[in-house]
Amino acid sequence: MIKLNSNLMIHQYFCLMIRYLKKQNFWFVFTPYFWLVLFFFIPLALIFKISISVSEWGMPPYRDLFSLSEDGFKIDSTLSNYLFIFSDPFYIRSYLNSLSLAFTSTILCLVIGYPIAFYVAKSQANIRIILLVLLIIPFWTSFLLRVYAWKVLLQGSGIINSILIHLGFITEPISMLHNHYAVILGVVYTYLPFMILPLYGYLVKFDLNLIDAANDLGAKPVNTFLKVILPLSLPGIIAGSMLVFIPVVGEFVIPEMLGGSDKLYFGKIIWDEFFVNRDWPVASALAMSGIVILVFPIVIFQLMYAKYNFKNE
């Protein structure tokens, strides 16, 4: 009796589910999520699996994690790839280099981008639109070509060296390429529009009368900025910083084009481990550690920030 009852309940529940899904247009709702699970989460799970597999010669160059042989079911897993990475300061330094590059360039973008965004947002409407178009053009121009432009400029025979020699500051061309300063310059240059545009978006909504009000009430300009303008543009600062920080952490192209061997970055290390050394398990372990070291802090920060916003509202 009880069995029948529970069967009936399951049946009823099932009917309800179907009705719910029909009403909500099942495929309309779930197709994109299926796509993301298939092409984003399963691949991530796969590199996790490979990262704990044993390296081996052959194709694919790792031993299967699970194997079914005459001896029975066997799990062949190892943490040696992770131990290898974390016992070698070379890899740890590349993570730290990437983090410090992302921090430095985000702060530089903010310091350079904030005044630009502020003055563009505070211009007269007709000038503002022209300036905005001028900001969007580099944003659309190919990222690779903008990095290449700096490679041309910083050459030994490049225009900057020529100007400096012409002005008499130096007599011999100095080598400005292939060091981590060139990388920072390239990153700041290419990601500056990503900082300016969200900042602009918040600053343009900002009521100018508030500045006047603060001035009338006797606030010093510094205090007006710190206590009125800055807090109100904080969401823009966070959004812009995220748009710079996240891609720079895994940046491969800019260090490859402008950088040298003085500092190696995470993106380059993975690339070489995969394409040059062909060591899939170590490359996968590097990627997994990269997610934990470089990506989790960002996610945690965003969750905390969302909570903070929620509380303040």
């Binding site: 909500q24 309309f28 709702v29 197709t31 994109p32 999520y33 993301l36 092409f39 984003f40 989460f41 691949p43 796969l46 590199i47 490979i50 005044p115 003055y119 563009v120 505070k122 639109i129 022209i130 300036l131 178009v133 001028l134 900001l135 053009i137 580099p138 659309w140 121009t141 190919s142 990222f143 690779l144 070509l145 903008r146 290449y148 432009a149 700096w150 041309v152 400029l153 050459q155 025979s157 490049g158 225009i159 240059y189 500056l192 996240i246 891609p247 952490v249 895994g250 491969f252 192209v253 490859e256 084009m257 993975i270 690339w271 899939w280 990627a287 990269g290 997610i291 990506v295 965003q302």
Partner: protein, 272 residues
Amino acid sequence: MQNTILRMNKLFFKIFTLTIGFSFLYFPILTLIAYSFNDNKRVMVWKGFSFRWYKELFQNEQILEAFYTSIKIASLSATFATIMGVMIGFSLTRISKIPARPFFIFLSSSPLVMPEIILGLSLLLFFISSNHIIGFPSSKGQLTVLISHITFSVAFVAVIIQSRLSSYDKNIEEAAQDLGTIPNMIFWKITAPVILPSIISGWLLAFTLSLDDLVVASFTTGPGANTLPIVVFSKVRLGLSPEVNALSAIIMLIVVLAAISIYFINRSHIKK
């Protein structure tokens, strides 16, 4: 008097900041364009004005083919990503009873924080093993690049659509419903026109993301699917290439024309 000086100072500071800022943004690109007319194989040594590199660019089949491939992949990827982005935007803002909503938000936004190098690596390994297991995709090529580009673009489009949908007044839809409008009609007559600008900007963003991507494409590409960034990168990785200068000038021209036309469309829109 003091006030005037203060205001002059402020104006000077503003013009100074904007000039420096925009020069920094434009100086490198403009130099690149100027040197594209240089009749010398050594990019930075000026020899004379010529269109030589433009001619060579238009005879370089490798670049032309890559350009065509890139445009094809970018427009397909942008279209699919926009369709799915709209679906995500709708399911997250319009279905209040969607079970486990935070989980779906997590699903749809995690590609935003994933470094492209990790994404590229994981997709490549995924394609290789799915080829081993079910024989699909049969080889790496345009299809695998397309799938990868759709995957990372969807999240960006979804964010744009979502912010538009959640900021506009849902009561309009409910009012239409109360007045007896059929759901399909509501979508086409009310919701679609409101989110159309976001759909267009989402499509454009996805298009640029795909056109600009080097890292993910390098991992997932195969024979016959070299995109433009891959070809350009192989040319400039170790040295300079005058043809790439000419290419940048052409791309700049296209972007400027697009920006100007958008500016005029906007202006006529505002006037109306």
